[in-house]
């Protein structure tokens, strides 16, 4: 993992001192709320429905056990004993006091964490594959490049007051688990014929009220050119992105209006002018950062473990957990293990302070003291020996963290919705809870197979409904909560926009509708055909008929 040096510590501490001063000046009235707002947002502090909400960055989703214990401590000491892991590899605390937020940030700074640029019209936390460095299907670990971007984008003198928020995601694997095509900038790590590492560069993706899938600007950008290229991309956007209408201010609108060819032409023209001035870091710096992400010292073990097979043979829950929640590691004999934060009937992404402490302990015992956070709102132990799985699973299961549903229908992404959020039109969490209760049957879930449901409580799309195999969008219809059903979206390498199936439903009707859609799939699927593939083959009509036909 990356470790701060004296420079990083000094900068983050300076930021805490600055924020403490800003809070003091707001409390004395020296700063108006209008002036304070963008400053607090750039430190992740929102004003929500009931209280302030603090969003803390988990850069590229990587945490140490020490950091996880600190997150548990913050939940216990400053909040109501829980935190909420988000779709952008952040954790949100829903009940901090304004006057205590500088203390929280200082505690976080002590363990090399921060809330810098987790909100506001600036470059946000860079996200990546939760299995980075711990998956067999990877070209290279993307995290050193994410850390390079984190540093370059922090307190950027030119790009801290952009037209709108700006999100960058990077994946090192062919299977895209970071939804890079749904980001303002997406980067896909590639290796060229000469064995050199670089990136495919995509721009202009985004959700919100105008969902757009990012377009490729460049097939291969060498590592040494990464930051100067990003700088050119941001400069053209900062200068020409719309500022007259916040709903048209994201880069996706600029790229659509200009055309990706023209945007690329302008970026490349600017890049040619700046690529030789020292924006990019020296090779020694890339090497320094890479050294922190060296593979952990794992002794190769056998993948055949009799104890694991025996338990799986007699315990269907463990067998399911093994099938769904563990994935192939780079090193034989190891897996990455997903800890589901989606217990049936629970709140997607929430974890209590005790659960966070337990995960920290388990990381120390079984996973090189390392933890990951996924954009699907789960936690991951990235480096677990197969032989340790029975012991690990028993402890997770006892703490309510053993739900074997990773990637299945009940592994739902949901935004906080009207239970917390001041932008929401409807609640999201109760819909997720009702669906997971309705489908609380492991055999049925296993039969249905991979199916991603994503729920947003308003058009801002924090719950990624545009990218759901089944998407649910809450809208306000004459003062009542109404839920639209969308089908066929994908956030993966085969990214697609989900399409609205028909008229919306009330909170009970939407759950029935999901069940009917699943029933159509089960009836129509071909051998081994997953839900998304079946939908793409069948088209919407057969689903429409089943859902609306009887009315």
């Amino acid at each position: 993992m990356y470790a701060y040096d004296t420079f990083d510590h000094a900068l983050v501490n300076a930021r805490v001192a600055e924020f403490r001063d800003q809070v003091d000046r707001r409390m004395t009235g020296e700063l108006t709320e209008e002036e304070f707002r963008p400053l607090r947002l750039m430190n992740g502090l929102y004003l929500q429905l009931h209280a302030y909400m603090l969003r803390v960055a988990i850069p590229y989703g990587t945490l140490s056990s020490v950091q996880m214990r600190k997150l548990a401590h913050v939940a216990r000491r400053y909040d109501k004993g829980y935190g909420h892991f988000t779709t952008r590899q952040n954790i949100q605390y829903n009940w901090p006091k304004l006057s205590e937020t500088p203390d929280i940030l200082q505690e976080l700074a002590d363990v090399e964490m921060h809330a810098i640029q987790t909100s506001g019209n600036c470059i946000r936390n860079v996200t990546t594959d939760q299995f980075a460095g711990a998956t067999a299907d990877e070209v290279a670990d993307p995290r050193p490049y994410a850390e390079l971007i984190r540093q370059w984008s922090s307190f950027h003198p030119e790009f801290s007051f952009l037209p709108r928020k700006f999100k960058i995601a990077i994946t090192g694997a062919q299977e895209d688990r970071a939804a890079v095509k749904w980001h303002d900038i997406g980067l896909v790590v590639k290796e060229n014929k000469e064995g050199e590492i670089g990136f495919e560069v995509l721009a202009g993706g985004g959700m919100g009220r105008t969902p757009v899938i990012a377009k490729t600007m460049r097939d291969f950008l060498p590592v040494k050119d990464l930051l100067s290229y990003l700088e050119a991309m941001l400069r053209v956007y900062n200068e020409q992105g719309r500022r007259d209408n916040k709903y048209k201010a994201r880069i996706k609108i600029l790229v659509e209006a200009m055309g990706v060819e023209e945007y690329t032409r302008q970026v490349e023209e600017e890049w040619e002018k700046i690529r030789h001035i020292p924006i990019d870091v020296p090779d020694e710096e890339v090497a320094r950062i890479k050294s922190f992400f060296a593979p952990p010292p794992l002794a190769v073990l056998s993948d055949e473990v009799a104890e694991v097979d025996d338990l799986a043979a007699k315990n269907f829950i463990f067998k399911s957990w093994l099938a769904n929640n563990t994935g192939r590691h780079k090193v034989p004999g190891y897996v990455n293990a997903t800890i589901s934060l989606k217990p049936h009937g629970g709140i997607p992404g929430d974890a209590s302070d005790e659960q966070m402490d337990l995960v920290a302990d388990l990381a120390d015992a079984f996973s090189q003291s390392e933890i990951r956070v996924s954009h699907e709102q789960n936690l991951i132990l990235p480096h677990v020996a197969r032989k340790d799985l029975p012991a690990l699973w028993a402890k997770l299961d006892a703490a309510g963290l053993g739900t074997p549903n990773a990637g299945l229908l009940t592994d739902i992404i949901a935004c906080p919705g009207l239970d917390y959020c001041s932008l929401a039109n409807t609640r999201s969490i109760p819909i997720a809870q009702t669906i997971t209760e309705r489908f609380d049957d492991l055999k049925r879930l296993m039969d249905i197979g991979p199916l991603k449901i994503k729920i947003s409580g308003c058009i801002n799309s924090c719950g990624h409904h545009h990218a759901g195999h089944i998407g649910i969008l809450g809208v306000d219809r004459k003062g009542t909560e109404n839920y639209q059903l969308l089908l066929g979206g994908s956030g993966a390498e085969d990214a697609s926009k989900a399409a609205i199936l028909g008229p919306g439903f009330d909170e009970h009707g939407i759950v029935d509708a999901v069940e009917k859609v699943v029933a159509v799939y089960l009836g129509e699927r071909e051998d081994g055909e997953e839900f998304l593939a079946a939908y793409r083959r069948l088209g919407p009509d057969v689903f429409k008929e089943a859902v609306y036909g009887s009315h």
């Binding site: 370059w152 950027h156 801290s160 007051f161 002018k273 870091v281 020296p282 710096e285």
Partner: protein, 169 residues
Amino acid sequence: MALINLTGIQPIDYTALADEAKPGEGETIAVPVAQLIEENADLFATAGSVGAIIGTETPFDALGDIVGKIDFAVIEFPAFGDGRGFSLAVRLRKDFGFKGEIRAVGPVIPDQALFLLRAGFDTVEASGERKAAFEAALERFPAFYQSDFGGQVSVAHTRHSAEGQRKAS
């Protein structure tokens, strides 16, 4: 109003040229950039020193024709969140090698002092009661992750210089 001096430059004392007005012989004036581009021969001949008042909506390449003739630039922020002003200053320094004073006017706030300095601004006009806050904000950060056109070297480069290695250890 107070003038906050970010770089220690000798600030220019100018008069904004009123609409339709002609500059006095040898006068130091600031003129909206559109006016400078349209009709400038007389103006440059008469005035002693000319600066451009640049709105944030100005495309940077429109400055190419006049940048060699002006002595200072005044970038007008309509709102402190309008970050185009930062890119304009960067463009003046980087694309045109402009060495004169760049001043920020409009509702910029003390917490932007270092962003302004690092983007290439020399001075800021602000309300007098905010002078101290601006000056305090200038001292806030000990180092930066970016190199800039004012000569600041990024932490990434400092780390690998002899001086930086002493500090980092």
